[in-house]
C-alpha cells in the first residue's frame, strides 16, 4: 500500500516530468577538450585542437552547438603523406560550416558531406583519410543528432549510467570506415567510404546529461566503468571542472595505453579474435567532454 508521501512523490515527479518537456529554455553544451598525441608530445596543440593525427572542433551557432572528432589514419605516413592534414582540415571545415550557418541541425551527415565536398574544392591537393564523429545539440528541441563514420564515437551518460552510445564501424580488424582522398590511380586500392555510410542517431537530452566524444584511443584503453568512475567526480557544469575531468580521463587513458600488462579493451577484443596480446594500445587520444546546460549568451 502506497503511503501518501510516496504517492505524492510519484505525482510530483510526473508533473515535473511533464513540465520539463514543455520547457521553453534553450539548451547548450559546455564543452572542454583534452588529448595526447601518440609520440609523447603531451597535449601540445600543433595547429590548435589537434592531438597527433587526431583533430577535433567545437562550434557554436545560434540554433545549435556542434562538436566533432576525427582520427587521421596513420598508414598514410608510409606513403609520404602527413595523416594529420586531412583530419585537421576536415574538422576546421566543419567548424567553418557551422559558424557560417551552412548546415541543418537535424542532419550532421549533411555537415560531413559538405565538409568532404569542400575538401575537394581546395586548390591544394589534399591526401589522407580519417574517421569522423559529429554531435549536434539542437537548442530549441532539446535533441542530440549524431553521425559516426568509423571507430571514433560518443557516450551519453545520465545518472551515472550510459544511456546512449555509438557503434564502431569497421571493415575488418583495425580498419575502420573512413573518409578519404586518394592519389589518382590507387583509388581502387584505398578504402574510401562515403559520408552517407555514417551511422546516424537522434535522441532527447536532459539538463545535466554528460556527453563524451572521443577517438578510439580512449575507448580502446579505458573500459566504460573506468570512464564512469572519472565522470562521477564531475560535480557541476562549470567549464573548469569539465576541463579538469576531461584532462584526468585523457591522462588516465594515456597512462594505461603504455602499460604492458594491462588488459585493455583493445587487448580483450584481440584475444577474443584469437590474437594473444596484452597491454594498452598506444594511439592518439582525443576527448571532448560536454555537459548539457542552459543556454546563456
Amino acid at each position: 500500500m502506497l503511503s501518501v508521501l510516496s504517492y505524492g512523490r510519484i505525482v510530483a515527479r510526473a508533473v515535473l516530468g511533464g513540465l520539463s518537456q514543455t520547457d521553453g529554455r534553450d539548451y547548450s553544451l559546455v564543452t572542454a577538450s583534452c588529448g595526447f598525441g601518440k609520440d609523447f608530445r603531451k597535449g601540445i596543440l600543433k595547429k590548435g585542437m589537434c592531438y597527433g593525427d587526431d583533430a577535433c572542433f567545437i562550434a557554436r551557432h545560434r540554433s545549435a552547438d556542434v562538436l566533432g572528432v576525427a582520427d587521421g589514419v596513420g598508414g598514410w605516413r608510409d606513403y609520404g603523406v602527413d595523416p594529420s592534414q586531412f583530419s585537421a582540415t576536415l574538422m576546421r571545415t566543419c567548424e567553418r560550416l557551422v559558424r557560417e550557418a551552412r548546415f541543418t541541425p537535424t542532419s550532421p551527415v549533411g555537415i560531413l558531406t559538405s565538409a568532404y565536398y569542400e575538401l575537394l574544392q581546395n586548390k591544394v591537393p589534399l591526401l589522407g583519410s580519417s574517421t569522423a564523429c559529429i554531435v549536434v545539440l539542437d537548442r530549441r528541441s532539446h535533441r542530440i543528432h549524431t553521425c559516426n563514420l568509423g571507430d571514433s564515437g560518443f557516450l551519453v551518460v545520465r545518472g551515472g549510467e550510459v544511456v546512449h552510445r555509438s557503434d564502431e564501424q569497421q571493415h575488418y580488424f583495425n580498419t575502420p570506415f573512413q573518409l578519404s582522398i586518394a592519389p589518382p590511380g590507387v583509388e581502387g586500392a584505398v578504402l574510401s567510404d562515403s559520408p552517407e555510410m555514417a551511422d546516424s542517431s537522434s535522441f532527447d537530452i536532459q539538463l545535466g546529461d554528460i556527453i563524451l566524444t572521443a577517438t578510439d584511443g580512449l575507448f580502446d584503453n579505458m573500459p566504460d566503468y573506468m570512464i564512469l568512475q572519472e565522470l562521477k567526480k564531475l560535480k557541476n557544469s562549470n567549464y573548469d571542472s569539465i576541463q579538469q575531468t576531461a584532462r584526468s580521463i585523457a591522462e588516465q587513458a594515456h597512462n594505461l595505453a603504455y602499460d604492458p600488462n594491462y588488459m585493455s579493451p583493445f587487448a580483450q577484443f584481440a584475444c577474443d579474435n584469437g590474437l594473444n596480446v596484452r597491454g594498452g594500445k598506444p594511439d592518439d587520444i582525443t576527448v571532448l567532454l560536454s555537459i548539457v546546460a542552459e543556454y546563456t549568451d
Binding site: 567553418r96 560550416l97 557560417e100 551552412r102 565536398y117 569542400e118 575537394l120 574544392q121 581546395n122 586548390k123 591544394v124 591537393p125 592519389p183 589518382p184 590511380g185
Partner: protein
Amino acid sequence: MFYYICLRRRCRSGSRGEALGSRRAVELGQRAALPVTVEVEQYAKEVLDFSSHYGSENSMSYTMWNLAGVPNVYPSSGDFTQTAVFRTYGRWWEQCASATAPFRRTPRSFHSRDYLELAFEEPVYPTAVEVLETYHPGAIVRILACSLNPFSQNLPVDIRWEVLWADEPTKAPSPHARQFSPTIRPINFSTNLLRLEVNSSVLEYYTEMDAVILRGVRERPILALYKMPIIDMSDLSDSEEELSESGALCCRPAARHNLGNGYFDKLPYELIQLIVSHLTVPDLCRLAQTCKLLQQHCYDPLQYVQLSLQPYWPRLGDAALAHLQPRCTLLQRINMSWTGNRGAVTTTGFCSFIRACGTSLVCLKLSCCHFLNEASLEVVAQTCAGLRELDLSSCDRLHPQAFSHIAKLARLHRLVLYRTKIEQTAMLSILTFCTELRHLNLGSCVMLEDYDVVVSMLSVRCRGLLSLDLWRCRNVSERGVAELVAGCSLLEELDLGWCSSLHSSTGCFQLLARGLPRLRKLFLTANRTVCDADLEQLSASCPGLEHLDILGTRMVSPAALRKLLRSCPRLRLLDVSFCSQIDTRTMQELTSLYPAISIKKSFTQ
C-alpha cells in the same frame, strides 16, 4: 591661434575632413556643446550581388560569400579557400580569340571589369572603407555607395549611387596581404549598401579579399564642416539630365557676338560625324544642346551603331532608354551589362527598346541584368533575328524557362551562359538550332544534368566551334571528350577547369591533344590526374599552345614540363600552382630560360 591651426588642418585634410572636423569641433566647441559623433565600424553582413567568382556555386571555397563577416585569413597572405576570388585575372582572357571586341566610346575613367555589392547592418554616413586584401592586392578601382537600404521593405523611387573613390588599376608592390583604405569622398546620405568594382588586368594572379569594413557616423555631419565635392565632368549625376533631354530642348543661337562659328559648318558632314564619334555618350548629349547643327549630328543614328551603356549603369533607367530609342535605329552592338537593377529598367521599357532598335542588332550584352525575364528574352529572340553575340553571364535570377527562346537565334556565333540556371532541355534545343556557334561558355551552369549529352549534341551540331568553356562542369566524362574531339576538331580553346570526373587514365587528355591540333588554350585546373604522358602528348601534337593551366596535380614532373616548354614556342601562360613535383627551384630555372612565359606558382603561406 589654436582655432587657426584647426581651420588649416581641416582644409588640408580634404575628404577626411568631415571625420577629423567633427572631432575638432568637439575639441573646439566644448563650450558650443556640439554632439559627440560616434564612429561605427561594421563588417559586411551579406553579399548581395557579384559578377563572377572562382568557386563553385554551392561552396564556401573561393566564393564571393566569404566577403561577409569577419576576416578569416587576414593578416596572413596566400591563396586560401576562405577568401573571395573573382573568376579571371590579368589580360589573359582578353587576349583569347573568344574575347569579345571592345566597345568604342568607353570613357577613359571607366576601368571596371567585375563588381560585388555588400550590405551592412546599419546605414551610416561613411568616413572610411577598408578592404582587407590577402593576395595580389590592388584590383579595386571604384567604391560606390547607395542611398537604398537593402533590408527595408519599401523600394524608394529614386536610388542614388555616389562614387566614394575611384582610381586606375594599380599593382601593389608585393603580392602580400594589405589593408586597403583609400580616402573617400563625403556624401550627404547614409548608406549601408556598398559596391566595389575591380579590375585585375595589371595583376600577376588572382586577387583575393577577406573582408570589408565600413566606418561611418550615425548622425549627418554638420554641413559647415562638410566639403562639397568637386563637380567632375564625367560625374554621372549630370548625365541623366542629358540622356533624358528630349528634342524639345530649344537650341541656343549660334553666337550672340556674331563671331560666326569659325566655318565649322563648312566642314563636310562626314568629317563632323568623325569628330563627334570620339565623344562619350554623355558628352554627345551635352554637345547636342549647343546648337541645331550639332544636335543634328549628335542625334544622328550613325553615332549610335555601337553603344556601351555599362559605364553609366547607375543612371540608366526606362526614361533614358526611351529617349535613346529614336537615335538607335541603326543599332548593331549594345552593351547593357550591369544596368537596370533594383527597378531602374523594367521589362516593358527594355522590350519596347528592343522592339524599336533591335532589328539590326548583332551583339547584345546583358551580363548581370537582373531585370530580365522570360518575356524580355522572348522579345529579343523575336526581334533580333540576326543576333550573333549574346552575353547573359551571371543572370542567375533568370528563370530556366527563358533560355528556350534563345534557340530561335539561329545565327548565334557567341553565347555566354556563365553562372545561369539553364536546364538540359533548353540547352539541347539551343544546340540543335544554333549550328553556327563558334564560342560557347557554360561555366558553372549547375542545372545542366548530363554534360556528356550536351557535349555530344555540340559535337554533332556545332562543328565550327572554336572555344568552349566548361569550367566546373561536374559530370563531363571521357565519353563526352571523345565525342567533342571527333566532332569539333577546329577547337582552339577549351576550359575544363575543376572537372573532376575526367581521369587521365582513360586516355582522354591524350586523345584531346591528338585530336585538337589547333589548341591554343587548355585549362585542366585542379584535375589531379594530369600526368607526364598527357604533357608529352600535348608537346607532340599542340605546337600552337598559348595558355595552359595544370594547377594541383602531383603527377607532373619537371622533365615533362621542360619538354612542353621546348615544344610549344608560343606558350605565354603556364599555371603550375600546387603541382607538388614542381618546386621553386624548377620554377626559377624555367622562368629564366623562358622569360616570355608567365609561369604561375601560387602559395598558401
